[in-house]
């Protein structure tokens, strides 16, 4: 670790390329904090958006129009409006309407900016996931469902145990795409001052005056994060692969 720091310090001294994150403990700490926040945002929003998608797709397939209509409206509205405006609408619009709570002698909002970012981004990505899951569910043959019915599964149980596992396998490539997109969209949380990677890096470059170097670090960071996510999704795809089906 020390060697790396020394190397970058020497790089700065000789070439003027100031990668302060790698030798300055304070900058490194901030960067790491940002990275942790990005990971937290990504993991929670991915999980929540999957849940939103699964529930939405279930409701969309229901025979009752009363259940279908709200989901359809939700999908249509969230897919066709900018995620940043959604985020502002939630954080500023709804956040200020919620009652504040007393915490440690101070009045703080009921939901913090991090929580609002998670909610807003999950709903945004969830709207896409509903569509993706639906396309997967449509691919499950009618006969499979009939077989499940013949075995006495209820609609919900058949959905959870039979339709969804098959549907997920079918729509994994599309899901993969959307989750990568979601990871990239977490940068929007910057706009409501969530201290994620972009926010931390911007703080570093405005103090250490090394915009170019930090920009390289930033792009590399997201490149690596997306790479890891894609790698994991591909592994998952392979693990979930149905023998004899499409490759």
């Amino acid at each position: 670790m020390q060697a790396i720091g020394d190397w970058f310090q020497r790089l700065y001294d000789t070439t003027g390329l100031n990668f302060s994150v790698f030798y300055d403990a304070y900058d490194w700490g901030r960067y790491l904090g940002g990275l942790k926040m990005t990971l937290l945002l990504s993991v929670t929003t991915i999980l929540l958006s999957l849940i939103v998608g699964a529930i939405g797709a279930l409701m969309q397939g229901s025979p009752s129009a009363l259940l279908r209509l709200p989901v359809n409206a939700f999908v249509v509205v969230f897919r066709n409006t900018p995620p940043l405006v959604q985020l502002f609408f939630f954080y500023f619009g709804l956040g200020t309407m919620l009652p504040a709570v007393e915490a440690a002698g101070m009045r703080v909002p009921l939901l913090s900016n991090v929580q609002w970012a998670i909610i807003s981004l999950s709903l945004f990505a969830g709207a896409f996931n509903v569509e993706i899951f639906r396309s997967g569910i449509e691919a499950v043959p009618r006969t499979t469902l009939e077989a499940a019915e013949a075995l006495g599964y209820t609609r919900l149980k058949a959905y959870i145990h039979i339709v969804l596992p098959l549907a997920i396998r079918v729509c994994l490539p599309a899901l993969n795409n959307n989750l990568v997109n979601l990871l990239k969209t977490t940068t929007l949380a910057y706009a409501i001052a969530v201290p994620e990677t972009l926010y931390a890096v911007k703080q570093i470059w405005s103090e250490s005056q090394n915009v170019f170097e930090m920009m390289v670090v930033l792009l590399a960071t997201y490149g690596i994060l997306v790479g890891i996510l894609v790698w994991m999704m591909h592994r998952w795809e392979r693990a979930m692969h149905i023998p004899g089906y499409a490759r």
């Binding site: 359809n72 619009g93 200020t96 396309s135 599309a174 972009l198 920009m215 930033l218 499409a246």
Partner: protein, 278 residues
């Protein structure tokens, strides 16, 4: 990869481009829905007092300014799309090039710009491109909105390149062979045979990209371009920064983008269904 005539009762293969907006409510009901939501939000504070304007009045009062901001957003998106499409076509053809080196380099460029978050690319351009450039002793100023446009054009370029590559790859290879046997050169084959056939296939994904760009232009407000979202915040401040104004004002922005993007998406879905290769 065409499916054969009879359907087996097995899991059907995933279709890469199913009719995307099969979830649909009519455009009109959708607009009414949104409008009602905003009205409901506004009327909740209708009796806020005699001197303060109700949220609806505020929106009506400022809508010329806000809509001008929205028009600016659309201008940015159109310019970014134009730049991105031209550059993307070039990059896409480079991806398909026979030279290994050129294909590899353009692949790298495409992946880089596709996988970096839009906001990061926007920062990249905003901070690293100078505010003016001197060419042949003439100084050309680069206002921030032009830089933002370039910032949006970069990811568009990469996405368009992928669309071009995918479309050309999807043309049956017999077309290449037929062109070759008619002694077309590679360039002639590309421009006279492949690309004209591809336009139909490229149109729906291209429009999808456009809808995404149109929605992304609000990111420019983060880097200080005075487009709709920036103006919305300023209007909010001008009206005394009342917290209950946030929801209607941002709701109005949502509505504008919705009314612009939803028809595009419906149209895209229709084209996709019509052009679907069976």
């Amino acid at each position: 990869m065409k499916t054969t005539g009879h359907r087996l009762a097995v899991l059907l293969p995933y279709r890469p481009a199913p009719a995307r907006m099969s979830v649909r409510i009519g455009p009109l009901p959708a607009a009414i829905l949104c409008f009602c939501a905003i009205m409901a939000a506004s009327t909740a504070w209708a009796q806020a007092g005699p001197t303060t304007l109700s949220p609806l009045q505020v929106i009506v009062k400022w809508s010329p300014l806000l809509l001008r901001g929205f028009a600016f957003n659309i201008l940015i998106s159109l310019l970014a799309m134009l730049l991105g499409t031209i550059a993307g076509l070039g990059l896409g053809l480079a991806l398909l090039s026979e030279s290994r080196l050129l294909a590899a380099v353009s692949w790298l460029v495409t992946q880089f710009f596709r996988n970096a978050p839009w906001l990061v690319l926007l920062f990249f351009v905003m901070f690293l491109v100078p505010f003016q450039i001197t060419l042949f002793k003439t100084t050309i100023p680069l206002p921030d909105w032009i830089k933002a446009t370039v910032g949006f054009a970069l990811p568009v370029m990469a996405n368009v390149a992928e669309v071009v590559r995918g479309a050309v790859r999807s043309i049956p290879s017999t077309q290449w062979e037929a062109a070759e046997s008619l002694s077309f050169t590679r360039r002639q084959t590309m421009w006279l045979i492949m690309l004209p056939q591809c336009i139909k296939r490229m149109l729906p994904p291209w429009m999808n990209i456009y809808a995404i760009v149109a929605m992304s232009t609000v990111l420019a407000s983060i880097v200080g371009v005075s487009e709709m979202l920036t103006l919305t915040a300023q209007v909010h401040a001008a009206e005394g920064g009342r917290p209950e104004l946030f929801a209607p004002l941002y709701g109005f922005a949502l509505l504008c983008f919705f009314l612009y993007c939803y028809p595009i998406n419906l149209w895209t879905a229709r084209l996709e269904r019509r052009f679907r290769v069976r």
